[in-house]
């Protein structure tokens, strides 16, 4: 019977998927629910005897704190600038990979190196490079020998953004390249015959046809950028007002062991991420149906 087969097929399918689905839900659905619960309580592990339901007061504490808003600013600032740079650089690298007449393997290899390096390791490398005592950056022409990069807020941001861009531009380039190769080469020839210059071909053919790829790439990178943590932790620990919201969460949860406040921060971060995704999918029409995660 056909329905017998479909039923047993469905059963098999569910059985095959169950372990993976369970594993995924286990550490996300449950903890986020638990986080919401925690956020509504006063749970400070240093004072385990105090505590109890406090409603939304953790949230109001967070939302009325200057630190939270500073951190939001920091996070968004870093996110906007690094993603913009990555988009332009990534596009350039994608074009090189696509059109190079030789050395494609070399480029592809180089582009994967930042991907393979641990973020923390890269952060250390850049930190050492910019450190006034041990770094070589200050030795370069045009840069003052005494420049204290980590002594100022925005100079710190500069180094943090540089490290972030370095680490993730290659991934952006790969995503954009995947979009580039779907464009029929003959369209460029037709455009040449129609009289388009190289720049016109890029702006009127390449970019419009790459819109879906660009949106997907932007979506994933923006979400990643919002969660910036490793680089800042290593370079400044968030000092000098360079803290990101994730670091704030970590500080509250793990350093201060204030699970109530920390959970409120976590939930708020979750809501922000959700908002960004929503804006991209609904607002810009990013098609994530077959898009890919992680990286």
């Amino acid at each position: 019977m056909k329905s017998e087969r479909t039923r047993s097929e469905r059963k098999l399918a569910w059985m095959l998927c169950a372990p993976a689905v369970l594993a995924m839900l286990l550490v996300t659905a449950y903890p986020i629910a638990y986080a919401i619960v925690l956020s509504l309580q006063d749970v400070d592990l240093r004072f385990p005897d105090e505590g109890g339901f406090v409603g939304l007061s953790n949230y109001s504490a967070v939302l009325s704190s200057d630190l939270w808003w500073t951190d939001i600013f920091n996070t968004v600032f870093i996110m906007l600038i690094s993603v913009s740079i990555e988009l332009v650089l990534g596009m350039a690298i994608a074009l090189v990979m696509h059109r190079a007449i030789f050395g494609r393997g070399v480029v592809r290899t180089s582009v994967l190196i930042p991907y393979g390096i641990i973020t923390v390791v890269a952060a250390f490398a850049w930190q050492f490079a910019f450190s006034p005592e041990t770094g070589f950056i200050n030795n370069l022409p045009l840069i003052s020998d005494e420049m204290d990069w980590f002594g100022g807020r925005f100079s710190s941001f500069a180094v943090i953004i540089l490290a972030e861009v370095w680490k993730t531009t290659p991934f952006m380039a790969l995503l954009l390249l995947a979009g580039l190769v779907t464009i029929d080469g003959q369209l460029y020839e037709a455009a040449r015959v129609d009289g388009a210059t190289a720049w016109q071909r890029f702006t009127r053919i390449t970019l419009p046809l790459m819109k879906p790829a660009i949106l997907v790439a932007l979506l994933f990178r923006t979400l990643d950028a919002f969660r910036v943590f490793d680089t800042i932790f290593v370079m400044t620990r968030g000092a000098l007002d360079t803290e990101s919201v994730s670091i704030l969460g970590y500080n509250q949860l793990i350093s201060r062991l204030n699970l109530g406040l920390g959970s409120a921060v976590s939930v708020l971060i979750f809501l922000c991420v959700f908002l960004i995704a929503f804006v991209f999918v609904r607002g810009f029409g990013a098609k994530v149906e077959e898009g890919r995660p992680g990286g």
Partner: protein, 280 residues
């Protein structure tokens, strides 16, 4: 179009720029790691003297006292175990999604995507609390579980993309040729699926290897601290010197094998990362 000398020159410059961009930090780390401790502040990009002191200090003290060996073992072990489990679970799931018809396919894929976009920080608090209660704090399992969760979406997506490309009729053709279902699966499907599985495994491994947030939140000692976490808490030769040299050496030890690995498998990695990225 014919290539002029000028075209070649421009392309060479473009490619050189990309390569330099990619390699600066790596070369820099190697350079620091090879500097003798006194030369650390000489601000030179290339060391003038080479010394392996930094590497020696990493391994001093053997397994128990060296600041590096235990974390290295932790990293490798945890990553391998997570990869193994993740690939198995993801393969089952991807096989079902790619081959079978059932409601909820899209929900699972959408859910996996949602998890990939999830901020891990939001789970750190509860996990910290739960793990302490369950005794999983500062254990391998305590890291393997969240790694599993967050690597599964990646693995599932890559595997689904690869599995969709396999011509499943070959299995039936093999059976017509006289193979049992098991033989058909092992001799025909498995070899075809192997590259995809291998690629997914590489991506999952790199993901685990790279994690920092969970590593520092859910561990507190050598028992399960992985290399990234250990690096952040390295101490130098004395409590007054910055551990720059040892960090650089550790970084190199942990990076160079991965780079070689990435070089060898670059085609697979690129294929995996862009799998399904922008399907026409």
């Amino acid at each position: 179009m014919e290539r002029s000398g000028r075209d070649y020159a421009l392309w060479t410059i473009a490619i050189a720029l990309v390569v330099i961009f990619a390699l600066i930090p790596v070369v820099w780390l190697i350079s620091i790691s090879l500097k003798p401790p006194e030369a650390l502040t000489d601000q030179r990009f290339i060391p003038s003297d080479i010394s392996f002191d930094n590497y020696k200090s990493l391994f001093e003290g053997g397994i128990d006292d060296s600041p590096f060996i235990k974390p290295l073992i932790n990293s490798i072990g945890i990553a391998l175990i997570t990869t193994a489990i993740s690939i198995v679970l993801a393969s089952f799931c991807a096989y079902a999604i790619a081959r079978l018809e059932f409601p909820g396919k899209r929900v699972i894929l959408a859910g996996a995507l949602a998890i990939a976009m999830f901020p891990p920080i939001s789970t750190v608090g509860p996990l910290f609390d739960m793990w302490r209660a369950l005794g999983l704090y500062d254990t391998w399992l305590g890291l393997i579980i969240p790694y599993l969760t967050f690597s599964l979406p990646l693995a599932i997506y890559v595997l689904v993309a690869f599995f969709r490309e396999i011509p499943w009729e070959l299995e039936q053709a093999a059976q017509v040729d006289g193979a049992t279902p098991f033989q058909a699966f092992t001799k025909v499907i498995v070899p075809l699926a192997a590259p995809g599985v291998f690629t997914a495994a590489i991506l999952v491994f790199i993901f685990c290897w790279n994690d920092f947030l969970f590593a520092i939140s859910l561990t507190s000692s050598d028992a399960s601290r992985t290399v990234p976490a250990a690096l952040a808490f390295f101490t130098g030769e004395s409590s007054f010197t910055a551990p720059t040299g040892s960090i650089a050496a550790a970084a190199v030890v942990v990076t160079v094998p991965i780079i070689i690995f990435v070089l060898i498998f670059q085609r697979r990695i690129v294929a995996g990362l862009t799998a399904g990225a922008v399907k026409g």
